[in-house]
């Protein structure tokens, strides 16, 4: 007889499972965490390599000569920006037309759901200006995009200057097989969202924009440039986009290959690569880089203007110029050459980048970990939930030693906690924005805080149920959490893993019989809101800018408000996920704890 159909063997297996359940769960948890930490260890990673044959190696000759002129253009741009107090649209149009591009503008406007304190804006109105360099001999079917944001103050003037300089240089070459669109967007992400929506004829976020007069074909790749000083010491690559989506690894490989060829110092997450992977400090450096990437990906925010392109299956990255105190300095001509080389290689593409990985983690710019290597870490955590579910199932199917009131748990007693917790989630999702409209003098975040606290306070009043009832509810809750975390990890591994790290122990140990006060405390510590609070402090630590508790708390509140804004402005899914799905799940466990 087979292993599972033989009743003796089955009984033995089941008794093994129930006896050793807790030890196995603890071992799995440790193994999952250890696997995750081991991902940054260099022998377990792979070196990056170019997968796309059409891009080949870096054998092009870069001849961009006009770095100084680009910087002068940037200074002119800055002067005009100060004069107009915003985007100097006429000057930009005139300059782009003088360089031989087809210039178009797009107006957009948007009223935010509540005032954004970080960027100090509420009713946003702006203009995007873009020029299209038509390929001399090719049909207008494909395009590449180079963009630089128009930021207030003194930021990113050199980026716009370099963009215009490159536009002039590119216009004189005849080897372009795709149109190149040079875009200067106002109000960074909001302007970029308006432009992309106008380009692709979609309207997912309710923004108001004028239709685009000129188009260039389907966009194959995009680069966004952020450069705020004349001389830089290193170039930083930013990959994380909206909802934790990453561009194809070949784009990062291309950037790294050109950095090595031209000899510019290149970093990822602002951290320079180290060679001593076998020492403790080298390993911790790699772990820090990887954890920064995990944190940024889990937040679901686009960390550069490129982040919004990824949703349209356009591979995009942001290149930031960093000026820190190093000896070796790079000038604008070299950066121009690097961008020229990258664009010449992207020009050779015949189809969209698809040969390399879409899901990866990078402990450094030259090493990566693909989904096949990092998913088992999450899998080990999910196995704990499944083991617990099996254990509960076994307990439910063995009849109880003594019956208490003889009635099997009714569907109603099961359904009530589910419905109530989901309604609370919906309230948490909708109320902050609604109450903001009513009470404008309060800070928006205090509304969120109040809602969360009241929800928790209210919830301690619960309905009675039978002894078996909590087991059924816990079974349902554990399976629900497993499915939820599994789906989240598939799309955004970092978010799924971080939630799993905190919620899986909660799900595993909570029963009505554990000491109430201590468990309530632990449950609150491991709730999604507190996880977010700890992540904020951890993130600041990783960036080597530790902050005090007061600043941390304010930062935490601003993170929540930014999350709500991201959701309404760009369609980020982290806020609805947490409020509508994860938070009700956590509430179910709270309910189980206080089952009487």
């Amino acid at each position: 007889m087979g292993l599972l159909s033989d009743p003796n063997r089955r009984r033995a297996l089941i008794s093994l499972l129930t006896r050793l359940n807790t030890p196995i769960c603890i071992v799995c948890y440790m193994a999952g965490v250890a696997w995750f930490m081991g991902l940054a260890f260099e022998p377990f990673t792979l070196r990056t390599y170019m997968s796309e044959n059409a891009m080949g190696s870096t054998m092009v000759e870069e001849r961009f000569p006009a770095g100084e002129r680009a910087l002068a253009t940037g200074r002119e741009f800055s002067a005009h920006k100060k004069r107009t107090g915003g985007m100097p649209v006429e000057w930009l149009m005139k300059t782009m037309q003088a360089k031989g591009l087809e210039v178009f503008t797009q107006r957009f406007s948007r009223t935010l759901p509540f005032p954004d304190e970080n960027k100090e804006r509420y009713m946003v109105r702006g203009t995007n200006v873009y020029g299209i360099l038509r390929a001399p001999r090719a049909p207008r079917t494909e395009a590449l995009v180079l963009s630089a944001p128009c930021s207030p103050g003194d930021n990113n003037n050199q980026a716009v200057g370099l963009l215009l300089g490159l536009a002039e240089y590119f216009r004189n070459q005849i080897y372009w097989a795709k149109d190149i669109i040079f875009l200067v967007n106002e109000h960074d992400l909001i302007g970029m969202q308006a432009w992309l929506e106008g380009y692709h004829h979609t309207n997912t976020t309710g923004m108001d924009w004028s239709p685009l007069q000129g188009r260039g074909g389907s966009i194959q790749a995009a680069l966004s440039l952020e450069l705020s000083s004349d001389i830089i010491t290193s170039l930083d690559l930013v990959l994380e986009g909206l909802n934790g989506q990453l561009p194809n690894l070949d784009l990062a490989n291309l950037f790294y290959a050109f950095c090595q060829k031209i000899g510019v110092l290149c970093t990822i997450q602002g951290k320079l690569q180290r060679n001593d992977w076998d020492s403790v400090s080298g390993y911790s450096h790699a772990v820090q880089t990887m954890m920064l990437m995990v944190m940024k990906q889990a937040s679901g925010r686009p960390w550069g203007d490129h982040g919004l392109f990824l949703r349209y299956h356009i591979e995009a990255a942001t290149i930031k110029g960093v000026n820190s105190f190093r000896q070796y300095k790079t000038d604008a001509t070299t950066i121009g050459r690097l961008l020229e080389g990258m664009y010449r290689k992207l020009n050779n593409l015949l189809e969209r980048l698809h040969q390399s990985y879409f899901f990866y983690l990078m402990p450094s710019l030259s090493h990566f970990v693909s989904i096949g290597y990092y998913m088992p870490a999450f899998g080990l955590l999910a196995v704990i939930l499944l083991l617990r579910a099996l254990d509960l199932w076994v307990q439910l199917s063995t009849p109880p030693q003594r019956t208490e009131d003889g009635s099997s748990p009714g569907v109603l007693s099961l359904l009530t906690p589910l419905v109530i917790s989901h309604l609370t989630g919906v309230a948490l999702y909708m109320l902050p924005i609604r109450f903001q409209e009513m009470a404008v003098e309060h800070f928006p975040v205090s509304e969120t805080e109040a809602v969360v606290l009241t929800a928790i306070a209210v919830y301690t009043l619960l309905s009675p149920g039978t002894e078996q009832g909590w087991r059924v509810l816990k079974l349902v809750a554990v399976l629900y959490l497993a499915v939820l975390l599994g789906c989240t990890a598939l799309i955004n591994f970092s978010l799924g893993f971080i939630l799993a790290l905190t919620l899986v122990p909660v799900a595993a140990f909570v029963t009505p019989h554990v000491p109430k006060v201590l468990s309530a405390f632990i449950l609150v510590i491991l709730s999604p809101a507190c996880t977010l609070l700890f992540s904020v402090f951890f993130f600041q630590e990783l960036q080597e800018m530790p902050i005090s508790f007061q600043d941390g708390w304010l930062l935490f509140l601003s993170v929540i408000s930014q999350g709500i804004l991201d959701h309404s402005l760009y369609g980020s899914l982290v806020y609805p996920l947490i409020t509508l799905l994860v938070y009700p799940c956590w509430l179910l466990f709270w309910n189980i704890l206080f089952w009487n």
Binding site: N53, A54, G56, S57, M59, V60, E61, A135, P136, R137, A138, Q173, I174, Y175, W176, A177, R344, N347, N348, L350
Partner: protein, 392 residues
Amino acid sequence: MYFLLVYMYIKNHVYMFPDLLGCHGKCRRYLFCCFQDRAGQFFSSGHTNNWAVLVCTSRFWFNYRHVANTLSVYRSVKRLGIPDSHIVLMLADDMACNHRNPKPATVFSHKNMELNVYGDDVEVDYRGYEVTVENFLRILTGRLPPSTPRSKRLLSDDRSNILIYLTGHGGNGFLKFQDSEEISNVELADAFEQMWQKRRYNELLFIIDTCQGASMYERFYSPNLMALASSQVGEDSLSHQPDLAIGVHLMDRYTFYLLEFLEDIHPASKTNMNDLFKVCPKSQCVSTPGHRTDLFLRDPGSVLITDFFGSVRKVELTMETINLTDPIDAESGELQKEMHTYADQLPVSEIIHQKPKQKDWHPPDGFILGLWTLILLVFFQTYGVKHLKHIF
């Protein structure tokens, strides 16, 4: 034996010597002793015309070097005398007019743009998507539809020496055509056997420049084939040099050194095949070139390069006159009756006067039978057998 061969040659090809028909005994003896000392040279190769089939099988801009390979062999072959009417050039993609080419209308084989192999007078017979395995095999075997123009046909006969050059991406036992299909070494060997049985070649030189190229000639079994490959099984053929202005590799190593070797050959060269085997040793090519001569009847040392790469017609100038005393009359022309006619490769008269084929009557096939059986069965099931008498 030797004189017998010569005599048989003249008998078979007597149409080439019309002014000799009237010669009787004295003249024939004169004929033999004139050719005696030159015959060894003149008749040693046994071919009268040369053809070349040059194929580049890969497309896309990053395969620039394969087109450059093929065009450089085309250039050598044309320079040494084979006319365009005897060359079938197949290029799978247009590099010269590709949008990414910074120097349009050129294909360079040396970096710094020293040598433009595209030239002014290149004639491509099969271009773009017409370069398929089917078309290639149809060219070799001659099975082309009647509407195919002459420039797209290999109109060779049993006295033709053919040069076949293939380049692209390959593997162990196959060559990839255009990223969508492959030709295997067995197919190629069978195609050559078909050519031999249809007497479509006298001798054939097969050169292949791909990765693991030696696997393509392993299966040949027809006589008079000589093959060269740029690398052995398990080795990759490497590209030679990139040009940074254009941004691609320009040539493959083997063909680069082959081109350098061929640039030194002129129509009167006496270089033989053993020198060709030495082209691109391992130190230059990194891969080990291979060759196969066991199916070839002559000794490779006696085979001239120009036997395949050039189209050399030996012309003998003579200042001596021959007196034709008797006029040619019809009765003494027994030799005329033994004239052989040239086998018509393109039977135009048959094509023009073709009658439509009559279709034979076929009994209804299984489907119709089955359908009628089904109808009958259903009918009898519903209405019962007793109604049979109403029908019959």
